[in-house]
């Protein structure tokens, strides 16, 4: 009897619990991350589109940075999945370069992470040539170069220096070491096109390979490591989500990926490139957000990031500045700390904050970083503003019999107000500028179009973020000039 009533009760609760859980799943979209280069964006957009088609709520955190940030985010469950390369997984994440796919899968499972099978293409280093020139000379593979010592090689400096770059390659293939020039990656493509060089290094899925009608020479001695694209995902994801990711396996060869990358750069839109994967006619007007709406979203987020961090910096910076104005060991410590924070490159600071559980890939991290950067001008100006108050004035306030707190409130702080406001103004303008970096960790703001534009090499998109950011900085500057009139006592402005 007890058993049946128990089972009956479970039978009642079960559907409710399931409904509740699916309700939760609806509320929390599956977060897809991507690294900050075109191909990663496009792959993430494809996964997003594929999941959305099956009705799974999904969101794409664009261009979150490099391998370390994404791996951290995946490990700490801040994102559900992101596209990665087998070579990177073996070398950088698992630090076991010789691992087979199965060994990699086993090791990843210990982190609660799964790996799809290969998506189909290999994005590794390659040597490329113009298609017509290669055909004419009968060159198909890298070993064919041995018979053409007259060919001019234009190689990037990185490739010339890398441990898995030119030198060991030339050794393995016994290639002649003459006729080599070091040249920038972008310029190298131009040089290849106009015939100033014949061969250059590239990534095997570079959009330019399709655009400029180049071919990647076959790596017939298997010198280059394999960088086959896969999706890494959290193992606890619902089976239907994993199934969708796995449906992408084997669906993208080099040529297709090159085409999609080229489409993304041509159309200036990752979403439309992803549409091509599904062979859908893209209708940007209906599915893409209007520009004014996007601009509003970026600007609102930008102001939120800069504003919240500025308020925090004021709330913490002024008391710290007051403490620092008293000099001594504590004063030096405070000024030393806030100055040291300022010297950390902003990217490094973001990378340092991301692994901390409370922060992670979120606006919180951007706000924390901006807050730390905003401290120095406020702390320093508060301290010097207070220290600059002449001794007779200071002593008059003491001699009147004002208690220390009242002296500060009624005399010292108002007298230092011009300097303090100057510091706050500097922080505000710096924050508006620096907040564009928040996009690096997917926190949004006006950095989003700047970052996309940089990756797409599209100046118009960059300007969509850069111009509003510059205007914001000017507006902030002006509104603080107005605020000066309201907040600085008139006696100090005469």
């Amino acid at each position: 009897m007890i058993g049946t009533s128990f089972i009956r009760r479970i039978g009642l609760i079960g559907p409710i619990a399931l409904g509740f859980l699916s309700g939760l799943a609806n509320a929390e979209p599956v977060l897809i991350g991507s690294k900050k280069f075109t191909e990663s964006y496009v792959l993430a957009e494809i996964a997003k589109r594929a999941l959305a088609k099956t009705g799974v709520p999904v969101d794409h955190r664009q261009g979150m940075g490099g391998t370390i940030i994404l791996w951290q985010a995946l490990q700490s469950n801040q994102i559900a999945t992101y596209p990665e390369y087998t070579g990177t997984i073996a070398e950088e994440i698992l630090k076991s370069p010789s691992a087979t796919l199965n060994e990699m899968r086993e090791q990843l499972a210990k982190f609660g992470v799964g790996m799809t099978a290969e998506l189909g293409f290999n994005n590794t280093y390659a040597l490329v040539m113009r298609r017509d020139a290669a055909r004419q000379k009968g060159i198909r593979a890298i070993s064919d170069l041995r018979n053409h010592p007259d060919l001019k090689l234009g190689l990037t400096h990185e490739f010339l220096d890398r441990k898995d770059g030119w030198r060991p390659l030339a050794e393995k293939y016994r290639l002649p070491a003459s006729n080599i020039v070091g040249i920038d990656h972008g310029l190298g493509y131009e040089a290849l096109r106009n015939g100033s060089v014949d061969v250059k290094d590239a990534y095997s899925t570079d959009a330019k390979i399709g655009e400029y009608e180049l071919i990647a020479l076959e790596d017939d001695l298997q010198f280059f490591p394999q960088y086959k694209a896969v999706f890494l995902y959290r193992l606890e994801l619902p089976p239907n989500v994993i199934a969708v990711l796995r449906s992408l396996e084997g669906s993208l060869d080099e040529k297709r990926m090159i085409d999609l990358n080229a489409a993304a750069e041509r159309l200036k839109s990752y979403a439309q490139a992803a549409d091509l994967y599904f062979a859908e006619p893209s209708s940007p007007a209906s599915r893409e957000e209007s520009f004014s709406h996007k601009l509003w979203r970026w600007t609102a987020r930008h102001l939120q990031l800069a504003g919240v961090s500025l308020l925090l910096a004021v709330a913490v910076g002024i008391p710290l500045g007051i403490a620092a104005s008293r000099g001594g060991a504590a004063g030096h410590l405070i000024l030393g700390f806030v100055s040291a924070v300022q010297t950390i490159p902003s990217l490094a600071l973001l990378a340092l904050l991301v692994p901390i559980p409370f922060f992670g890939i979120s606006p919180r991290t951007a706000i924390a970083a901006l807050f730390l950067y905003g401290l120095l001008p406020i702390v320093r100006n508060t301290a010097t503003g207070l220290q600059d108050i002449a001794k007779p004035i200071r002593e008059s306030a003491i001699a009147l019999g004002l208690e220390p707190a009242a002296r500060l409130r009624k005399v010292y702080l108002p007298m230092a107000s011009r300097s303090i406001l100057g510091g706050i103004k500097t922080s505000a303008v710096i924050n508006i500028g620096t907040a564009t970096l928040a996009a690096l960790i997917g926190a949004g703001g006006l950095g989003e179009p700047i970052l996309s534009g940089l990756n797409l090499n599209d100046h118009a998109t960059i300007l969509q973020g850069a111009i509003p950011a510059a205007i914001l900085a000017l507006l902030v500057q002006w509104s603080f000039d107005l605020l000066d009139r309201l907040l600085i006592p008139r006696g100090l402005r005469l």
Binding site: E395, A399, L400, K410, M415, G491, L494
Partner: protein, 247 residues
């Protein structure tokens, strides 16, 4: 009658230099005592010790029978007015707010503040119409009058003046000397005035304390000092200030 301020064995050094040797000194109620001497003789140091802008290295200072300590200093300071050379006015406040700052802090009723302010304007001959000017908009003499009003606002038992007229031109200075003398007399004010001008000391002081190199050299009226100089320094100091010897 017991004196208002008593110093016993009070000393002060800055690093290795002695600003004030152990000194015993008392200041009588209702009198104006002038501290005079060459620069660095310790006269300003002594004044600043009384209002505790400096902590003495040794000895005790009593005010109205109470030893001055860190615990009671805020209260005692409110019973002492302090005027310095450049006025020490707060530049962000109008003349009116400078004068009323402490009264407002102590939450005096508005009517009481206003009537006291009018009283002080009359006493110091400051035009009420100029009360809403900021310190930078006032002349040097007006600034010192405001500084004096601020010091007198709470009707202090003791007024400390550290070269209050030092930065003023001779005519303004003469006018203020005259007004100060009247004010001290009308209020029966206990005052300690620091100056290096013997004429001012003779004009304003009931008694002169001549200091040199951190010590009190002689105390008395100008005629005492002139008639019976304690040592050669006293004679030299008086002779050096020709204007006085001529008058």
């Amino acid at each position: 009658m017991e004196s208002l301020v008593q110093l016993s064995g009070v000393s002060k050094t800055y690093g290795s230099s002695i600003a004030l040797h152990p000194t015993d000194l008392d200041f009588a109620r209702g009198k104006t005592t002038v501290l005079i001497g060459p620069s660095g003789c310790g006269k300003s140091t002594l004044l600043r010790l009384v209002i505790r802008l400096l902590d003495p290295d040794g000895g005790t200072i009593s005010f109205d029978g109470t030893p001055v300590t860190l615990a009671n200093i805020s209260d005692l300071r409110r019973r002492i007015g302090y005027v310095i050379q450049d006025g020490g006015l707060f530049p962000h406040l109008t003349a009116r707010k400078n004068v009323l700052l402490m009264a407002a802090h102590l939450k005096w009723p508005a009517g009481k503040m206003q009537s006291r302010l009018s009283e002080l304007c009359a006493l110091t001959r400051f035009p009420e119409s100029a009360l809403d000017r900021f310190p930078v908009e006032l002349s040097g003499g007006q600034r010192q009058r405001i500084s004096l009003m601020r010091a007198l606002m709470l009707s202090p038992q003791l007024l400390l003046l550290d070269e209050p007229l030092g930065a003023l031109d001779p005519l303004v200075r003469a006018a203020l000397q005259k007004d100060l003398k009247e004010i001290f007399q009308r209020l029966n004010q206990t005052a300690i005035l620091v100056t290096h001008d013997l004429a001012e000391a003779a004009y304003l002081g009931d008694e002169i304390v001549l200091m040199n190199e951190g010590r009190v050299v002689q105390r008395g009226t100008l005629s005492d000092l002139r008639a019976r100089p304690a040592n050669a320094f006293v004679g030299d100091f008086i002779t050096a200030q020709r204007s006085v010897t001529l008058s």
